[in-house]
Amino acid sequence: MDSEAGRAAVSVRGFSAYYGGKEALRDVSLDVPENCVYALIGPSGCGKTTLLRSINRLNDFVPSFSREGEIYVGGTEVFSLSDRRGTERLRRGIGMVFQQPNPLPISVRGNMALPLAEHFRVPRAEMDARIVDRMKQGAIYDELKDKLRSSALALSGGQQQRLCIARALMLDPPLMLFDEPCSALDPIATYAIEDLLSSLKRDRTIVIVTHNMEQARRVADYTAFFYLGKLVEHGPTERIFSQPGSRLLSDYITGRV
């Protein structure tokens, strides 16, 4: 693993997290190589979402949250950013997709334009071209090209989620975090998003939290298995699922935990 640390997109070193007095993660260390899909799996409450939300410091908004250890994104230790501007710049470089599709109650175009318009002055033509391009990358353009002006809330759940992915692509984040992106979707919409993940990883790194082991198996190059706040096992997905190195993981894979 040390050989990969130099070109790791995300490095977690001795990371522990607490909510008040309750420990959510204990001494986690792992490296996410560039241009891959890295899945965090484990039963509910195992700390995988806490780790994900620590990477872009979204957990800062939870008042009782505290932590020890470091997380490096692109060589920067994220908790060393002490001022507001630093964290905002960090988050700008990390796309995030949430469990519930969360388009804003404005038009499809308005949703797409928001992240970019928030940080840069972009001429209209350039903005339009970029919106079309990112919607194509998000595999949503063909369905929505005639609906750019209509409300994003009128779309189906699967369309909304792909719109949110395309929206996150507007800022060209080298790293993207997915927090159980398919748990609110039907199987067809889920497959569409899984297809999308494998095309997106060509140019960026993806960390995905999922409770669906089959999904991890289908999309992830690497998988880390968490149990009760501890990183039990991690490595190439292939190996994790075919030769689990611990009783706990094999029990989880076979559905006994």
Binding site: L58, F61, G95, Q100, H119, L171
Partner: protein, 308 residues
């Protein structure tokens, strides 16, 4: 129960319009387009019994309602939405619950108490701060300048409307899911940008409903306004500029209270019922619009914020 309410409401409309019909018939469109209500009422009161229904002109009253209610709704919206944002976004969950409870209490204060405070506090303050003897002499030909005027009505009404705006806006803002806020933060937006670009647009239907219901309360509010408005339906004139704020005013609702002593004359009663008819229509419009807006419009129809 619902059926009974519909029948009662329909009967109220029928009764009010039946009573107003003679005056509406005699005045025609002049009812809304001409002034002189105060003198018309006293003339009608002293008119011999059996005389034909005279024409009335309510332009001054309509202007009074439009101005007092319009300006105070504007002030209350700025104060109320600002307060709702502050309370919901900066005071924590417990602080928000506490402040909203206080605001709801404010909404429950009887309007006559607002009027009394207006009379004891606001009217003398306005008189001392804005009105000089020179001004009173200068405008003597047009109207009598005292602390009871449009400005005092606006101040009192603003404080009466604001709680409605605060409480509905706060409900709508609190109903914006945290995941939407987090989306904004994840794009690197600061707290204020998230409020401006994400929270308020998502809460918009609820906020607009609050403003409209507040405006409805503003138009219908009678007793407090009648205590501080000055009681004369002066038609505002562009020539007076800001002095219009210091002129006495008489909104439709306050007129009903103010002139009710003259109800002994059937014609005056008819005139007041036509004020009531107009108020009924306005009130119904405001509350229906608020209802439609808070349900959300357009496709999707979930309306973003409010769930009621």
């Amino acid at each position: 129960m619902a059926g009974a309410s519909i029948v009662v409401i329909a009967l109220i409309f029928v009764f009010v319009f039946y009573k107003a019909a003679p005056v509406i018939g005699a005045s025609g469109v002049g009812l809304a387009l001409s002034g002189g209500f105060d003198t018309q009422v006293s003339k009608a009161f002293y008119a011999p019994a059996g005389s034909p229904t005279p024409a009335f002109g309510m332009l001054g009253l309509i202007a009074g309602t439009a101005l007092s209610c319009g300006i105070s709704t504007l002030c209350a919206s700025v104060m109320g939405i600002g307060a709702a944002v502050t309370v919901c976004e900066f005071c924590g969950r417990r602080g928000a619950a506490f402040f909203i409870a206080v605001v709801r209490l404010l909404a429950a204060i009887p309007s006559v108490v607002f009027g009394l405070i207006g009379l004891i506090v606001v009217v003398p303050l306005v008189e001392r701060l804005f009105i000089t003897v020179d001004m009173q002499i200068e405008y003597l030909d047009y109207f009598q300048m005292t602390g009871r005027n449009l400005l005092s009505s606006v101040v009192v009404l603003s404080f009466m409307i604001a709680p409605t705006v605060v409480s509905l806006s706060a409900d709508a803002i609190a109903a914006v899911p945290d995941s939407l806020r987090e989306t904004g933060y994840a794009f690197g937006m600061g707290h204020f940008r998230v409020i401006w670009k994400i929270v308020l647009p998502s809460a918009r239907p609820g906020v607009i409903a609050g403003v409209l219901l507040g405006a409805g309360r503003g138009t219908g509010e009678a007793i407090a306004v009648s205590m501080v408005c000055g009681g004369i339906g002066v038609i505002p004139s562009a020539g007076f500029g800001l002095m219009n704020l210091l002129a006495p005013t008489l909104p439709l609702s306050a007129a009903i209270i103010n002139k009710s002593e003259a109800m002994g004359s059937g014609h005056v009663a008819g005139a007041l019922f036509s004020c009531a008819a107009l108020l009924l229509v306005l009130g119904a419009l405001f509350s229906l619009t608020a209802r439609v807006v808070s349900r959300g419009f357009g496709p999707g129809g979930s309306g973003g914020g409010i769930k009621a």
